[in-house]
């Protein structure tokens, strides 16, 4: 089956600025893909190209097998899009707005009658459907944007920062909604909030400075990049001796120790890649007769990975620049 989104070697240059530089990725049908990157990484630009709002400078972009530039109108019919900051006509009532949008999306009257109440129901807008959008809270407006995106039952939902500016309760609601929608639609959503991706997405595409740095499931990213995380050990014993002993434990790479006020020593152990020396650490501690009160493995979060990847990229970039300078 052809992928829902196929982006090949996409480049976008604005006057003097390269926003996207040879971006390629695919999204399969039924996937929820998180587009992750710091502000200005090129997320919104990619989405605008996917929805046909602006064209690419070069490269190929297909949605459901259709070229987004050549078949722009057909593509737009298949895509439900919620732009950044969710712009809406604030002078319209919710139901009025959805009616207007469904007409634009070419839904025949009979379908409109079904789809509008359905979208209102699904997004929890029933209580506010008669209210003017400009008078609604940000959370409700966000749902109006989502309801609009859903109206024509599009194959693909593209949501640009769907939870930005919401309070924690609203964020949770919108995330749940997205998860539910993922059962029926393919979703590409962008965010710079990492837990969001971990919670909602099957796959993460990390973009930075207009380039794709990684694309994988959150779990795989953690597996390949985290190298086991850190192990925190708290032992009651003489500081330097504890440190010396633990350093000799099998598979321990490096460690740092700190003597706590209550007589315990906190040791942070970095294990060798792909190993788990916790058992050996316990044995070492107990064979010395010390008391052990904590032995935990700190889980690397997507946030760590993200910081790591983008920093590596920045350093590589810096190096390339350095080299160019020295060549000159």
């Amino acid at each position: 089956m052809q992928p829902m989104i196929k982006v090949e070697n996409l480049t976008k240059r604005y006057a003097g600025v390269t926003a996207l530089n040879g971006v390629s990725f695919e999204v399969q049908r039924g996937e929820i893909v998180g587009f992750l990157g710091p502000n200005g990484a090129g997320k919104s630009t990619t989405m605008r190209i996917l929805t046909g709002f602006i064209p690419a400078s070069s490269g190929r972009v297909e949605v459901a097998g259709l070229d987004v530039f050549e078949n722009s109108l057909d593509v737009r019919k298949r895509v439900g899009y919620m732009p950044e900051n969710n712009p809406l006509y604030t002078d319209m009532r919710v139901s009025e707005y959805l009616k207007f949008r469904s007409k634009l999306k070419g839904l025949p009257r009979s379908e409109r009658k079904e789809r509008i109440p359905e979208a209102i129901e699904m997004c929890g807008l029933k209580d506010v459907s008669h209210r003017i959008i400009g008078h609604l809270s940000k959370g409700y407006r966000q749902r109006v944007g989502l309801a609009d995106a859903l109206l024509a039952e599009p194959d693909l939902l593209i949501l640009d920062e769907p939870t930005i500016g919401l309070d924690p309760v609203q964020i949770r609601q919108v995330r749940q909604l997205i998860k539910d929608l993922g059962k029926r639609h393919t979703i590409l959503l962008s965010t710079h909030i990492l837990p969001e991706v971990e919670m909602t997405c099957n796959r993460v595409v990390i973009i930075h400075h207009g380039r794709i740095l990684a694309s994988d499931t959150p779990e795989n990213l953690m597996k390949t990049l985290n190298a086991g995380g850190l192990i925190q050990v708290e032992v009651r014993g003489p500081g330097s001796e504890v440190q010396a002993k633990l350093r000799t434990v099998e598979n321990v790479d490096t460690l740092s120790a700190k003597v706590l006020e209550d007589g315990y020593v906190r040791v942070m152990v970095t294990p060798k890649t792909g190993t788990d020396p916790r058992e050996k650490i316990y044995q070492s501690v107990s064979s010395n007769g010390w008391t052990l009160r904590e032995l935990t493995r700190t889980r690397t979060t997507l946030e760590d990975i993200f910081v790591q990847i983008t920093r590596e990229e920045d350093e590589a970039e810096e190096e390339r620049r350095e080299q160019r300078r020295s060549v000159r």
Binding site: Y14, A15, R48, T51, G52, F53, I54, P55, L73, D74, R76, K77, V79, Y81, P83, E84, N85, P87, L88, Y89, T90, D91, M92, E96, F100, R101, K103, L104, K105, G106, D148
Partner: protein, 247 residues
């Protein structure tokens, strides 16, 4: 063009969802009402060579200069500023449909405003004792004149609105262009009453055209001039809107 009805309806609703539609309407009716009252008072003094409606139509420059910038400034500039243009243009509608619906919306409002002055005709008719004293021909052609010139200025105002995301800038721009096309061109006809240049100025001066329309003369040349001018302005507006794609 299948999306034009839905878009047009939205445009008309937008005028009256904000205070703008009412303010513009109030301004127009105030100016026209005062003018009408003064004119009728003047005509009561004795016979003149003017008719009341003729004087009213000769006021057409004021709505063109003031009302047109007010009803066109928001059209595209506000969509750009608020970002709603992105919503609009990622729906399956073409750029021209959007431009045309916005033009039609403004023209409809403008026509509605002038249509309200139809009450003056009814009042005149009631007090002047029937059709004999009130020549309907020049009245119809006068209305044709104000609408045909107005719709052209609206297209120009829409073009101005497409070039910026600032409503005030758009309003000033369209005011400046309409001022040039209307007032300055009229002055030119005074500066060059004859000669080849004078001929050109007379041929494209809206005041000259309106002079004819008020008298009941419907010449095809101004009609073609304004409609092709509108077509050109709408075409350029669509291009400006599309320019996001090649900038």
């Amino acid at each position: 063009m299948t999306n034009v009805p839905a878009l047009l309806r939205r445009e008309l609703n937008a005028y009256f969802a904000s205070v703008l539609g009412y303010v513009v309407l109030m301004f127009f009716l105030l100016v026209m009402g005062v003018t009408f009252a003064v004119v009728v008072g003047y005509l009561n003094r004795g016979p003149t060579q003017f008719t009341a409606m003729k004087i009213l139509f000769s006021m057409f420059w004021l709505p063109s200069l003031v009302v047109v910038p007010m009803i066109t400034m928001r059209l595209l500039a506000e969509e750009k500023r608020a970002g709603t243009l992105e919503m609009l243009m990622t729906a399956p509608v073409t750029d021209f449909e959007v431009v045309f619906a916005k033009y039609l919306g403004a023209v409809t409002l403008y026509t509605m405003m002038w249509a309200l002055t139809g009450f003056y005709v009814l009042i005149l008719r009631h007090f002047s004792g029937g059709d004999a004293a009130l020549d309907l021909g020049p009245i119809f052609s006068g209305y044709l004149g104000v609408i045909i010139t107005g719709q052209f200025f609206i297209a120009v105002g829409l073009l101005a609105s497409s070039t910026t995301n600032n409503q005030i800038a758009a309003a000033l721009m369209s005011f400046a262009i309409v001022f040039l096309l209307l007032i300055v061109l009229n002055w030119m006809t005074f500066l060059f009453p004859s000669g080849p240049l004078g001929k050109v100025f007379h041929a494209i001066s809206a005041f000259d055209h309106m002079e004819d329309f008020q008298r009941g003369i419907v010449d095809a040349r101004p009609l073609v001039f304004y409609l092709s001018g509108t077509a050109l302005a709408l075409f350029i507006t669509t291009r400006v809107l599309e320019s996001r794609k090649w900038r």
